[in-house]
């Protein structure tokens, strides 16, 4: 993943810069997810394939859970990577 040291620090403490950077990153992720979910729900509803409460009641299998974990780990690295820099 492309990263560079989070320099320079503009705010009074470098951690504040990193917190703001993390806030931007998480906001980007959230914004993208909201758009994707909206697209998905519109596509499904258009095909008559999504009923009310069907998402809430869905039960993933073990492979799906493992995949979710991998994606979550990468997600955390993207958001908190700058906080982990020396």
């Amino acid at each position: 993943m492309t990263t560079t040291p989070l320099e320079p620090a503009f705010l009074p403490h470098p951690t504040m810069d990193r917190m703001l950077d993390a806030l931007v990153a998480i906001s980007a992720e959230l914004s993208a997810e909201r758009e994707r979910r909206q697209v998905l729900e519109q596509v499904l509803a258009a095909h008559g394939a999504l009923k009310p409460n069907e998402i809430e009641q869905y039960r993933p299998n073990a492979d799906e859970l493992a995949q979710r974990k991998r994606e979550r780990d990468a997600y955390v690295r993207r958001i908190f990577g700058s906080l982990g820099q020396p």
Binding site: M1, T2, T3, T4, P8, F10, L11, P12, D17, L20, D21, V24, A25, S27, A28, E29, S31, A32, E35, R36, V39
Partner: protein, 356 residues
């Protein structure tokens, strides 16, 4: 997976990239449109408190920055501007790199399908000054073979959504001065990048042979692929603005869009001398670039200093302080127009006096 086009811009590789780029575009709109007027006001107030002059072309910028940086809003704005710029590049580049071979192949396929339109010498040596990672783009224009793709997506954010239809480049090409005698057989887009103005110049001057010259082969290769995909017949060539590899009097029209603020001050005169040489008598030279030789309010000076120091624009301050019209006149070019454009850029037009 091909995802079609948004105007003239291929859609980002994934919906996720597209959403992220959209988010960063909105964040940039917020940072510039809503935050910066307050940042500018805070900077001007800080300058007044510190007894610094309100306006100036250069002035004591270090003192101004010290005074302004103590304002939390200013520091926060800088952090958001830098994070937005960095993360825009990272996001799209990371996705492109996961399928780099396919993107590389598309460039090579375009070269094979349209030979003779992209000219470069494998032995060409890129000067060190051109290796800067301008605007923090990873690898800059020359150090990443996918830089053209990255640049095109990234500048859609940088230009705040005004790049998918070549909107800004159309404005620039509309500003290009034409020779008074109306004769335009050959036009040069100097520092053409990915050739957006190059293709539009061809559309404005359909009977002319139009060439885009740039130091960065990755940008030229993408520009060539893009132009051939659009079915627009232009030439691209790798080369240096300070050493234009064409005969004396070869071109009727030369355009330099945002070239000068991205080269060292020591090259201003050599570049202008080369343009004066390759223009035929009566030919025109149009420059659209950062304003220069002007007096700027404190907020604008703070932003320019931020760009220079933190957005990798190391050469910009010297251009902003330069007297471009005087330099053009020194090289025998007659300045016909200097003025602002609808964007923050300025337009300077000149001509090589017709032979008497």
């Amino acid at each position: 997976m091909e995802r079609g086009y948004l105007g003239l811009l291929p859609r980002a590789p994934t919906l996720e990239d597209e959403s992220h780029l959209g988010f960063y575009e909105s964040l940039r709109n917020f940072s510039i449109g809503e935050m910066f007027p307050r940042v500018a006001a805070a900077t001007e107030a800080a300058a007044e408190r510190a007894g610094l002059p309100g306006r100036g072309s250069q002035g004591p910028v270090d003192s101004l920055v010290r005074a302004a940086d103590a304002v939390p809003l200013v520091a926060t704005w800088k952090r958001l501007m830098r994070t937005q710029q960095q993360r825009t590049w990272w996001k799209v580049r990371d996705t492109l790199l996961t399928d780099a071979a396919r993107y590389e192949r598309a460039l090579s396929d375009a070269e094979a399908a349209h030979p003779g339109k992209l000219h470069y010498d494998p032995a060409f040596v890129v000067p060190d000054y051109a290796r800067e990672e301008i605007h923090l783009q990873p690898g800059g224009y020359v150090g990443d073979s996918l830089a053209g793709y990255v640049f095109h997506y990234g500048t859609q954010v940088f230009y705040q959504g005004q790049n998918d239809q070549d909107e800004l480049h159309q404005q620039v090409v509309d500003m290009v001065a034409l020779p008074q005698d109306g004769k335009v057989e050959r036009a040069l887009d100097l520092a053409c990048s990915i050739g957006q103005a190059t293709t539009l110049l061809k559309q404005r001057l359909p009977r002319a042979e139009v060439t885009g010259l740039d130091v960065a082969l990755p940008l030229l290769r993408y520009g060539h692929k893009r132009a051939t995909g659009l079915g627009i017949d232009v030439n691209f060539k790798q080369g240096l603005a300070e050493q234009i590899d064409y005969p004396d009097g070869h071109f009727d029209v030369v355009l330099a869009y945002i070239l000068f603020h991205e080269v060292p001050e020591s090259l201003f005169s050599p570049i202008i001398a080369e343009v004066a040489r390759v223009l035929r008598p009566g030919g025109t030279f149009t420059i659209v670039d950062a304003p220069n030789g002007q007096s700027f309010p404190a907020g604008q000076r703070l932003w320019m200093q931020y760009d220079a120091e933190h957005n990798c624009e190391p050469y910009s301050p010297a251009f902003v302080a330069a007297d471009l019209p005087a330099l053009l006149e020194q090289h025998g070019l007659r300045v016909t127009h200097v003025g602002p454009t609808p964007t923050f850029l300025w337009c300077t037009q000149c001509e090589k006096p017709p032979a008497s």
